[in-house]
Amino acid sequence: MEVEAFKRLYPLPFYERYLDSSVRPDGRPLGRARPTSVSLGAVSTADGSALVKIGNTTMLAGVKLEVMVPSQETPDQGSITVDFQMPPICSPLVRPGRPVEAASVISEQLSNVLTSSELVNLSELCIAPGKAAWMAYLDVYCLDADGSLLDTALLASVAALAHLQLPAVSVSEEGRVYPVSSSTSGDVSMEGAETSIKVKGNSISPRRRLKLGAAPFALTCMVHKKHLLADPCAEEETLLQCSITITMNQMGRLVSFYKPGGAVPATTAIVKECISLARRRAREVQQILKEALEDHIESPSLMQTD
């Protein structure tokens, strides 16, 4: 029988033959993740953005800032709203008009991980206590879905927040917020007709990057019989028995552990192996992100906007 025909007719036996020789059809060893790339500032209408690829899975994350009046309970905190979208372009399974179940699950998980990892200190988003704070909308769009969606979405979110710059603004006594041209800082606001009267009472907060806490990185693993596969593609996700997603922060601490049932119970040995794979992957991804950030800061396009 021809290889292609065998693959179509008996996908699982086809796959298991590979697994028995500890390799995957795409040539990867079982524990290795796909090539990963991060590029920052892909969308200039967003205040922070990042395009992330893990293998074929592609995600675009963008942060938009708006000013809000902080709530009475937390007058010195801003807020972040996280949303994950799977538009119909990303997969043949998604049709327009019907929201995808997976998308809302990932949206929720993403939001939980970002909150519980304390990546963003919400006080950082404060402009003037009790008067004004930043409301950050983080939207992640899946452009190409080929497995390990949460891992990619989380990396895109972290990268977009790392790329985010809070613009320079001046705040009047009543809590009105005005943009300040960053080139000459305070002086420009005096020329603006609207702000000229209130300049004396205005406090100016300069343009700055968000200070981030320990970044979380996720790794999805598939358990199949006694094999453990890191970073599955879409085909592997549908074919194999059960998945485990582990989120680890860059200090090597466990942030979340997610095993949504599945046909196979995971043994403690498997869980331990997953955690060590995730720890290694977190270091690897952190390095990729660091390089992307360094490249971006060195590049002249950012120098102009600084």
Binding site: K64, D144, D146
Partner: protein
């Protein structure tokens, strides 16, 4: 500074300048005759196109025209929705979405009618270029996502969609390059940017099958001096011809690169 004076002004700030604020139009042409971004009035924006952007799709394309960035993927031909009546010829199903961060104000476009309008327009621009009889009883889905809106969005979506269709191997009579144009006072500005569109009096979008010399879609909006119309149409058609060349060479490159 007392909290008692609780008349906090409504925050009035958007990180990027709010384009809906009315004001005095800036001069779109410098005394030397160059535009805000340094182009000449009859010059198109730098364009970049690439097929095969989405692996999960049967065909896909990414296009970047100046600040406008769109991605289109094509699925099918596949089974039509059960609810649809029997059709001897194939169906073309389109959907256009804006990413929430694509506009200056978040979610501005997706709340309005723009997505629906663009969806209908895209369908009409492509319908007559696709050989529908080659995939009877089935549907080809064309999905577009506008990642960054920077003017001339619909024209870019149409051009990009016809590239994606070609990439998917859907039989077409010709590629459908589309070009937009903005009319400001006595000037016509080809391939207008967001800022130019905003201050323009009238707009025109032309989608054409250039090798057949046929126009698939022509829309005009706003105020037009009648003397300018034929000049504008000719400009758009010339630009379509150039864009078609670019699209062809891009498709050829991809085929050559893929064949190696």
């Amino acid at each position: 500074m007392s909290r008692a004076a609780s008349t906090y002004a409504v925050p009035s700030y958007n990180a990027t300048p709010d384009l809906s604020v009315k004001g005095v139009p800036p001069s779109l042409l410098s005394p030397e005759g160059s535009r805000l971004d340094g182009r000449l009035p009859h010059e198109c924006r730098p364009a970049y196109m690439k097929t095969g952007a989405v692996n999960a799709a049967a065909g896909s394309a990414y296009a970047e025209f100046g600040q406008t960035k769109v991605i289109v993927s094509v699925y099918g031909p596949r089974e039509s929705k059960k609810a649809q009546a029997f059709s001897d010829i194939g169906r073309l199903n389109c959907d256009v979405k804006f990413a929430s961060f694509s506009t200056s104000v978040r979610g501005k476009a997706s709340q309005g009618m723009e997505e629906k309008e663009y969806t209908g327009m895209l369908h009409k621009a492509l319908e007559c270029a696709v050989a529908l009889h080659t995939f009877p009883k089935t549907t080809v889905d064309v999905f577009a996502l506008i990642l960054q809106s920077g003017g001339g969005d619909l024209a870019v979506v149409i051009s990009c969609a016809s590239m994606a269709l070609a990439d998917a191997g859907i039989v077409m009579y010709d590629l459908v390059p589309a070009v937009s144009l903005s009319c400001t006072g006595s000037e016509v500005l080809l391939d207008a940017s967001m800022e130019e569109e905003r201050w323009g009096d009238g707009g025109m979008i032309v989608a054409a099958m250039t090798s057949r010399n046929e126009i698939t879609q022509l829309t005009m909006t706003g105020e037009w001096p009648s003397t300018k119309v034929s000049e504008a149409l000719q400009l758009c058609l010339d630009a379509c011809l150039k864009l078609a060349e670019l699209m062809r060479s891009c498709l050829k490159e991809q085929v050559v690169a893929g064949g190696q």
